[in-house]
Amino acid sequence: MAMVNRPQFLPWLPPIGRKTLFALAVAFICFAFAFPVLWLILTSLRPESGVYYVHRGTEFTLASFAEVLSDERIVAAFLNSALISTLATVFSLLVTVSSGYMLSRFTGPASRLWFGTIYVFRCVPYISWVLPLYFVTQSWGLYDTYTGLLLPHIAVHICFFSWLMKGFFDGIDPSMEYAAMIDGCTRWGAFIRVAVPSALPAISALAVLCWLFTWNEFLFALILTGNRVPVITVVMAQFVTEMGLRWNLMAATAVMALLPAFLIALFGQKYVIRGLRI
């Protein structure tokens, strides 16, 4: 690597001091960043009598995890959440890749209108939206069904992801698609067989983010599901009762929910950083 990419911090310090200081600073930042989650993990390991006064006492136990796992709904909820996150990711990308492509490659009134629509609806607050959404899903018979949870989740992402996908496609030279069209592809062929594969890095970046967003989504899940489609965030929310919070169980569930998200983020970050260049 060239030297210039590393201008020195605090050039007046001796190298050893600089290194130590740097390491300390980085360690501190990491600690501060991870702290709430570390604390959550610690909390989940404390017996119920110690989930608030986490710092008082040194008993640790897996009892909360055992209790949570003994509920068969929790397993179902994990599977459901995984399924819904995955499906929502796949479908969100299916619809937004094509819509972003359209925004990038065509500059007609249709494109401007669509962009305007997306922009306007991106600005609408969720509050004015979820409750009518409940009416709508209920009257269409979609309340508390996979479809009824999945489709709105996809709809949420349309505006944002279409916008991002447009940016990604703007960065891809269209001549490959022209070549494909001359090579006998229809426009669809050129889009699916050539443009989409070249946008894969961006698509995988969005996939990772979309999965995480959906996995952690609360409000829609809360409003749109009953008991037939328990998802993990709703199960967590059910630990908030009229008679107080079952914080130990909630923390344990949250920690378990952290694990898949962590794995996705761990293995996905490479694609995210590579793909997010707009």
């Binding site: 017996p47 119920e48 009598s49 989930v51 608030y52 006064y53 008082r56 009892a63 409750l131 409940y134 009416f135 209920q138 009257s139 309340y143 809360l222 409003i223 009953g226 008991n227 709703v234 929310a237 059910q238 908030v240 009762t241 009229e242 008679m243 107080g244 919070l245 914080w247």
Partner: protein, 404 residues
């Protein structure tokens, strides 16, 4: 065809115990009980939306006095549930649950109210503070002796106002709206939905808490933002000598898994303020209701089930044992009280109290009023002491306005 009943509820020990009775009945009568838990955070809004959209998602739903009047017109009358006559007359008053035709719309599930808890290892029953002033002196003494960090800790923020604001207000012969203790909407309207914030009794109450927190330091400075989780956590950790909480927590305070003060808790009457001489009790119910929109035969089935539940002595005894909430059938109370000291205490302190107050108001604007009230007193107690009167006066019109 399998008969089934769908129960819309919200997981909590009382409801779980009540549903256990449904299930026992269902097993005997060949009815499948389908439990549909809902999240607390959105229960009322979702259920309201469901009721107004005439869906038949639920046959029996959890009902509560706070929204008794909000739903009354959407619910099936339950006057024909015979065993309802055994319910508490006070709690099932028409003011709370009757529809426009005066028909009752609830079947009780259990009594829910708060009591004054104290640390029996630190305070002898005869030393328990009887007045707010005694609460201060007793607390200061315990703190000075290094027995506890704080005298009193209780919930204060919105939705948990009851645990400190409401009882202390009542103890000062005060209420959210004037005239005090009035719940007849017509009379309240005649009085112009007058807020009590400008009443001297309210100022006294706020000043009491201001002093408790800032002058006497018997309560933590963060208390105005506490909800019940935080207050109870501190109490259960042994850091406070007194609290006010739902009777339900009796079980929790005495659960070695959850609490550090097992066997060191007792309950008593609320300490009184200078303006009130007679002790008072506060008593509400949770109940079950049947949506109007479901088919007739299921309504009938649901009523049969609820009737059976009301008569299930074994189940109701279990309900009390597991939760500390007095069961819905008042005729079982004496028997339980004979075996159980806590029930005896509850009967004396609250249930049999001749002077009872109601926790909420019964009209649709109540949540807005409650919030306006809570915002006002929180603002006053977290501000400067000399500004209290001013803040209360400024906010009084907002409470009245919210009620209209």
């Amino acid at each position: 065809q399998v008969k089934e009943l769908r129960i819309g509820y919200q997981p909590s020990p009382i409801q779980d115990a009540s549903i256990a009775m449904f299930e026992a009945w269902g097993a005997k009568n060949g009815v499948k009980i389908v439990k549909v838990p809902n999240s607390y955070g959105v229960y009322v809004e979702k259920m309201t939306a469901s009721l107004t959209s005439n869906s038949d998602q639920y046959d029996v739903i959890w009902h509560n006095d706070d929204w008794g009047q909000t739903w009354a017109h959407l619910l099936e009358p339950t006057d024909d549930v015979e065993a309802n006559k055994f319910g508490s007359k006070w709690s099932m008053s028409p003011i709370v649950f009757a529809n426009a035709q005066g028909q009752n719309t609830v079947v009780p599930m259990g009594q829910t109210f708060s009591v004054f808890f104290y640390r029996s290892d630190l305070v002898k029953p005869e030393e328990v503070p009887k007045t707010l002033d005694e609460l201060v002196t007793m607390s200061k003494k315990l703190q000075a002796d290094g027995k506890v960090k704080f005298g009193y800790v209780g919930g204060m923020s919105m939705n948990h106002s009851w645990f400190s604001w409401f009882w202390s207000m009542w103890a000062n012969n005060c209420d959210v709206l004037l005239p005090a203790y009035e719940r007849d909407n017509k009379k309240l309207a005649e009085a112009g939905w007058k807020s009590s914030l400008t009443d001297p009794c309210m100022q006294k109450t706020v000043e009491y808490w201001w002093d408790a927190i800032n002058t006497h330091k018997i309560s933590p400075r963060g208390m105005p933002a506490y909800d019940r989780n935080e207050a109870n956590a501190i109490f259960m950790a042994g850091d406070a000598a007194f609290t006010v909480a739902d009777t339900l927590w009796w079980g929790t305070f005495n659960d070695p898994n959850k609490s550090k003060i097992v066997g060191k808790v007792a309950a008593a009457r609320f300490p009184l303020g200078p303006d009130r001489k007679k002790p008072f009790g506060w008593d509400d119910i949770w109940g079950w209701a049947i949506p109007k929109s479901i088919p007739e035969e299921r309504k009938k089935l649901a009523k049969q089930m609820l009737n059976a539940m009301m008569l299930d002595e074994e189940g109701q005894t279990k309900l009390f044992k597991s939760t500390g909430a007095p069961p819905p059938n008042t005729t079982f109370w004496p028997k339980i009280a004979e075996q159980d000291a806590f029930m005896k205490l509850l009967k004396e302190a609250v249930l049999d109290s001749p002077d009872k107050v109601r926790g909420a108001y019964y009209f649709p604007q109540w949540p807005a009023v409650h919030k306006a009230f809570n915002d006002a007193v929180t603002k006053a107690v977290t501000g400067k002491r000399e500004d209290i009167a001013k803040v209360l006066a400024e906010n009084a019109p907002l409470v009245s306005k919210a009620a209209q």
